[in-house]
Subunit: 329 residues, 2 copies
Amino acid sequence: FRKKNLSTEELIQGILNGDIATLARAITLVESTNTEHFQKSNDIINQCLPHSGRSIRIGITGVPGVGKSTFIETFGSFLTALGKKVAVLAVDPSSTISKGSILGDKTRMQELVKDKNAYIRPSPTGHSMGGVARKTRETIILCEAAGFDTILVETVGVGQSETAVHGMVDFFLLLKLAGAGDELQGIKRGIMEMADAIVINKADGNNIERANLAKVEFTKALHLFPAKENGWTPKILSCSAIQKTGISEIWEVIKAYTDDKPGQEGIIAKRRTQNKFWLLQTIEDQLKQQFYENKNIKNQLDQMIKLVVDGKISPFNAAEKLLSLAKGT
Amino acid sequence: FRKKNLSTEELIQGILNGDIATLARAITLVESTNTEHFQKSNDIINQCLPHSGRSIRIGITGVPGVGKSTFIETFGSFLTALGKKVAVLAVDPSSTISKGSILGDKTRMQELVKDKNAYIRPSPTGHSMGGVARKTRETIILCEAAGFDTILVETVGVGQSETAVHGMVDFFLLLKLAGAGDELQGIKRGIMEMADAIVINKADGNNIERANLAKVEFTKALHLFPAKENGWTPKILSCSAIQKTGISEIWEVIKAYTDDKPGQEGIIAKRRTQNKFWLLQTIEDQLKQQFYENKNIKNQLDQMIKLVVDGKISPFNAAEKLLSLAKGT
């Protein structure tokens, strides 16, 4: 028996009671593109807000093949064994198209999916990148209100989604493999500088030596990167998610970051800045969306882009023309 | 005797004849915030467009104290001695406030300022960062139409202006000093990854050894950075702008970048992408400006930001409220 519609109050109460089934239904409501659900989900989020925030939010990124799923399985199980309640979310804009979300295949996390102190939620689909990011951020609020104290947000190695995830977490962890191929090809520009820790995965078997070498190299190169605004020096670690080695060391680093007095204050300040960022970001996303969905703009934009690309009209002149076209409706 | 008003046609003809006084007056018109000048400057730019583009556009950045002015003086004189016509422009958003443009003090480039094959123009003032960038980009068009074949765009070590300059040049050069202090403090995140060449300046006297050491370090660290989309591997060089050493080597690297067949095609493709970027960027800047200058928004924004920062209302909910407020006028 599944009750067809829960009221806003029932949903909120269920979340605050830590009921996973209700949490899941509320997240589905938040993710819905149905305009009727909009007010309801807004009410839920605003009422959950005072109960949110008491967690550590950790972003995890790395190119496909680096072993993200295995890492999250191992790391998540390690955390629940410590008594933590772990929510695993994903930001995967490609899932909109391919429907092949990185977390869709829960079979890749067989342990964690059975763990009653873990909740795994695939990336929302049917939204633009901005929409996916917004929905995930709102989902964090709901998970925290439901009592999850550790939020892992997984993302794929695509520049845009990394920036979004970096803007919603306290600590950003970059998984890498030893060996030049990965450094040269996989990681998009700027990602390495976002990382609070770089973890070299698959440091096992024949790979141990290479992983140690990579650790030394990265550590040496660290001073070439600009310092973080909060004074944190990114840490370089290695682990084997499969052999479950090096995992507690990673947790120690994150704890040092968050338990630290300046760290804690840093997190509060960071979250305030993030809140403001999301307000302005949403406004700007919506302004753009309204513009580009304008009928006149849709008719003229491609042609104007072509003129500009070919150097037939100045970009600024073309922009003026399009802007007055948008106002004309 | 100075003619008070030149017609659009006279200005264009003067530019195409390479008359510097006319070029300067046209740039002043482009920089003007007077709405009456707007149509005139648009006409001039669009008519200069077909005569523009035949140049190499070089962005130069580095923290204060790295010796940018001396470098541009030496590098610019080196280029005019080769028969080049060199325009030196600046993007300095701070000049709006302090009026202390990095190029305002032309006495710092005593040689170049007397050189008839060089034209030095300080950063436009009285504009937002977006405005400064736009005006500089339009000034490049006019300088090229006036026959300048080498455009140097100087910028200060501020993240936003670097990104803007990177978006308007073919080749981006980062000046650095040897020694850890600079690496740790000066350069904003992401800037190093934008560079097509990193030049360690002040490699003279007691500094030579340190500069060479820094060169080795940077070269080693290069493979830790993601590869450029066009396949170019950033080069690490050293020079002494004061002693005029290492300058021709820098020019050789830029020539290798531009004379190279894939390089040339890369520049054409890059400029097309840049044109499209500026069209969309201008549209988005204007949309934001219209929003934030709305009276209702001006009244409510600060209060809404405070609620969001304090976690009293969700950023997305606040954005909705502000967006409908903006529409209400």
